[in-house]
């Protein structure tokens, strides 16, 4: 695991983070629930909560799908190539390439291969980018969530010990975290906290 220069993290006084979606994307609830699941995976291991709000402009984390040049100097490049990017704390911007074929699997579960290689699993990318939003850089541990590349057609959403060690270095462990995690996380929880409590395994 690695960190951004200066090891930025969300300050102690602001660990109950809010997130919202760019209203211009008109996302369905099904798409939004993919991000809820992704946030829960991180919230289970650190004392940080993520709450969805409707006011995009004032939320801590702002999620949007854009194509090509979208004003942050990091234009997207169409299908494949760069899939998404997110900024280190406390910036909170989380951008995804609107030209990708995003798979909103819905049938929650762990890592596996999707049948078609032209697809990108949205939750896999979301879990990775949330790691950046929390302050993690890229890792060279191939199975880790924070490994920069993803094989097309692959679903990779389970945090590895490398990811957990890194994020707990920044925020400490979730007091309710007992070393195991629920799989799958609840999909309909409006307030995404990590205390779903069901046992699971890394």
């Amino acid at each position: 695991y690695s960190f951004f220069p200066g090891e930025p993290r969300w300050p102690e006084r602001n660990r109950d983070l809010t997130y919202a979606f760019d209203p211009r994307n008109s996302l369905t609830e099904e798409v939004k629930s993919v991000f809820s699941r992704a946030f829960v995976r991180w919230a289970e291991v650190i004392p940080v909560t993520f709450t969805r709000v409707e006011v995009f402009s004032i939320s801590d984390i702002r999620i949007g799908f854009y194509s090509g040049d979208h004003g942050d100097g990091e234009p997207f490049d169409g299908v494949m190539g760069t899939l998404a990017h997110a900024f280190s704390p406390p910036n909170g911007h989380f951008h995804l390439d609107g030209d990708e074929n995003w798979i909103v699997s819905g049938d929650v579960g762990g890592d596996r291969l999707l049948s078609v290689t032209a697809a990108v699993d949205l939750e896999s990318v979301a879990v990775h980018e949330i790691g950046h939003l929390l302050g993690l850089g890229h890792s060279s541990v191939q199975d880790s969530i924070m490994y920069p590349t993803i094989t097309t057609g692959r679903r990779k959403v389970d945090l590895t010990s490398d990811d957990v060690e890194g994020v707990q270095y920044l925020y400490g462990p979730n007091p309710n975290f007992n070393g195991s995690r629920s799989t799958p996380p609840p999909s309909t929880q409006q307030r995404d906290t990590g205390d779903s409590g069901a046992a699971g395994g890394i």
Binding site: P5, L83, W102, S105, T149
Partner: protein
């Protein structure tokens, strides 16, 4: 677009998904320092974007396989546990063209990705309160 599952993607969209914007890099397979290859400047721009070539260098790269590119390839191969040859072998390029996150692997010229693991082992005996620090020498 969003699809409930991968088989719902229309065939024509699947086809163009294989036209990865980076696929042309595979044409550089076998290239090595000292060569001059048409279009190589694009790969240099790719490595600069992801932090393997300093941002301070001008973006109007040449097509020469120079030391700048060789160093970038070696660092990339080290980060991704590939054979560190400094040459554009097929495995390295297959990795380069994989879809990925847009955040650079190297920020401000420091690559911590490969050895980012901290040397301080933090052992937490409780969810809160003081933590026991141990430093490995």
């Amino acid at each position: 677009g969003f699809y409930p599952n991968s088989s719902a993607i229309p065939p024509d969209l699947r086809r163009n998904a294989t036209e990865n914007v980076w696929n042309s890099f595979m044409n550089f397979t076998g290239c090595h320092a000292g060569m001059k290859v048409n279009g190589l400047y694009k790969l240099k721009q790719y490595f600069q974007h992801f932090g393997y070539i300093r941002q301070t260098l001008p973006k109007n790269f040449t097509d020469d396989f120079d030391d700048i590119l060789k160093n970038a390839v070696e660092t990339y191969q080290r980060n991704f546990h590939l054979n560190i040859t400094g040459e554009l072998d097929e495995l390295t390029l297959k990795h380069v063209v994989m879809p990925r996150c847009g955040v650079p692997d190297i920020v401000n010229g420091t690559s911590t990705m490969h050895n980012g693991r901290r040397r301080t082992y933090e052992v937490s005996f409780s969810g809160k309160g003081p933590r026991f620090h141990a430093v490995k020498r």
